[in-house]
């Protein structure tokens, strides 16, 4: 499965809105939309590090890097290139 789909599945399995029509695009700010909560941010960090074998340094912890699906994919790709 490609990275983007993996992450989408992970986000969808952690949404804190329970209406069936809750959908988000690859560029939607999932935190601002209230689709996920702050506990999710930490869970997402753990998931990304575990799943993709990277360590995200403090300089990259800015929530903007995790705010949209595309930003998360970009962050992972950046770290994968660094490895």
């Amino acid at each position: 499965m490609e990275n983007k789909q993996k992450i989408r599945d992970f986000i969808e399995s952690n949404l804190v809105v329970f209406e069936d029509e809750a959908v988000f695009s690859d560029d939607d700010h999932i935190f601002q939309m209230g689709f996920v909560n702050s506990l999710f941010a930490m869970k997402l960090l753990g998931y990304i590090e575990q799943e993709f074998g990277i360590t995200v340094g403090n300089e990259d912890l800015d929530i903007a890097n995790f705010s949209t699906l595309n930003n998360i994919v970009r962050l992972i790709e950046k770290h994968k290139q660094e490895v």
């Binding site: 992970f10 399995s13 952690n14 949404l15 804190v16 329970f18 069936d20 909560n37 702050s38 506990l39 941010a41 930490m42 869970k43 960090l45 753990g46 998931y47 575990q50 403090n58 300089e59 912890l61 800015d62 929530i63």
Partner: protein, 393 residues
């Protein structure tokens, strides 16, 4: 040896059990009454590496994995809740968070000293007007040049009365939350010990007042703005795991006290354990302790394997075991009758200590919210798209 631990861990656990029996349990009542954790006990634990039990060896730790660290916490917590609280704060909340988000310099400076008990810390989140709604901390920071200036009050901070440093959670005028390492000797730092506690009487709880306290930029823990999202969330996740085991510990200790008393005290010419209603309480207590430990072990296994849902399973364990601790200690007091209401027996102390667990590291109501959100997603029956398509066709 348990299936959950390897040989070297099993040895450490066995030693901890013996240490708790010989060096901690005999002091537990006195520690509670005096409201003081003896320095000699803290040093003794440090010498054994206990204050860094779950940290890597390079920082003076024992390298215990989450499951073994949980079982270790149970052993210490069974003997004395106040002593266990030292592990919760130093090892779990502060140490684990610093291991993950501390800079290399911060880790090198603080962790080895914390392991040796040369420096004790405190985690300063709660305030007079802010508890569960922790994102709304009113303690402020502002940046001036390369320094940060902190102002505000913290309340209920375990070990603050004796700590050498505090991890202080503060907000800027835009609501960006950041955490700072604040050394006690900095000008403008004052602590005011708090007495009259229900439980945790010897964890040196204090208020902290910060009046124009200046800290350098290198004292920021984690990233600027990530104080809640990463530091508080991580610290409380580790704290909850520790408290989950603390609940098992208190409930297990109370169960032993209950059984011992029911087997020795007689009324109506019979030992108490002969009465069906007493048997009911013992049966329930055994079941609850086993269930509580199972939940903790399950959460521990998930933490060990790095499973993403470990955060939620830890919240479930914390919620359940603290509830169980209150229920079992309640029945332990009941079975002790009048003796349960006096400090000649440990029952009343265990009862008081148990209640605290339902309040700290996120109250039970906050856990229920977190768990229900998890459940509303996890247990939603997925629409069977494929089946519907076939039927529609």
């Amino acid at each position: 040896m348990s299936v959950h631990t390897c040989a070297s861990s099993a040895r450490i656990l066995e030693e901890a059990k013996q240490f708790a029996a010989e060096e901690i349990r005999p002091l537990a009542a006195e520690i509670d009454v005096k409201g003081e954790l003896p320095r000699s006990l803290i040093d003794n634990m440090a010498q054994r590496g206990y204050l860094a039990a779950s940290w890597p060896e390079e920082y003076g730790g024992l390298g215990l994995d989450p499951v073994t660290y949980g079982l270790f916490t149970e052993q210490i917590g069974k003997a004395c809740s106040n002593t266990r609280a030292l592990l919760t704060v130093q090892t779990s909340l502060l140490g684990e968070t610093m291991l993950r988000f501390g800079t290399d310099a911060q880790k090198r400076i603080w962790l080895p000293q914390m392991a040796r008990a040369g420096k004790l810390g405190a985690f300063a989140l709660s305030e007079p007007n802010v508890g569960s709604d922790a994102k709304n901390v009113q303690t402020t920071y502002r940046k001036e040049g390369d320094r940060y200036i902190l102002n505000g009050s913290k309340k209920w901070i375990s070990f603050a009365a004796i700590a050498d440093f505090f991890v202080v959670i503060a907000s800027d005028t835009n609501g960006q939350i950041t955490s700072f390492i604040v050394e006690r000797e900095r000008e403008g730092v004052h602590t005011i010990p708090m007495t009259g506690m229900l439980g945790n009487r010897a964890v040196h709880i204090a208020e902290i007042r910060l009046d124009e306290v200046e800290v350098p930029a290198e004292n920021v823990l984690g990233n600027v703005g990530g104080g809640f999202t990463y530091i508080v969330s991580t610290a409380l996740d580790h704290g909850r795991y520790s408290i989950a085991w603390a609940g098992v510990a208190i409930a297990a200790e109370a169960l032993e006290a209950m059984v011992t008393y029911a087997r020795s005290r007689s009324q109506f010419g019979e030992k108490l354990h002969h009465f069906q209603l007493v048997k009911g309480m013992i049966g329930d207590a055994v079941t609850k302790v086993h269930a509580a430990r199972s939940l903790c072990l399950a959460a521990g296994e998930m933490r060990r394997s790095g499973a993403a849902d470990a955060i939620h399973e830890t919240a479930i364990a914390k919620y359940f075991t603290s509830k169980v601790a209150v229920e079992v200690t309640n029945d332990t007091v009941q079975i002790h009758g009048g003796n349960g209401c006096r400090n000649e027996y440990p029952a009343e102390r265990l009862f008081r200590e148990a209640k605290v667990l339902e309040i700290i590291e996120g109250t039970s109501q906050i856990q229920q919210q977190v768990i229900s959100q998890y459940g509303l997603r996890k247990y939603a029956v997925k629409k069977q798209k494929a089946i519907r398509t076939r039927k529609d066709a």
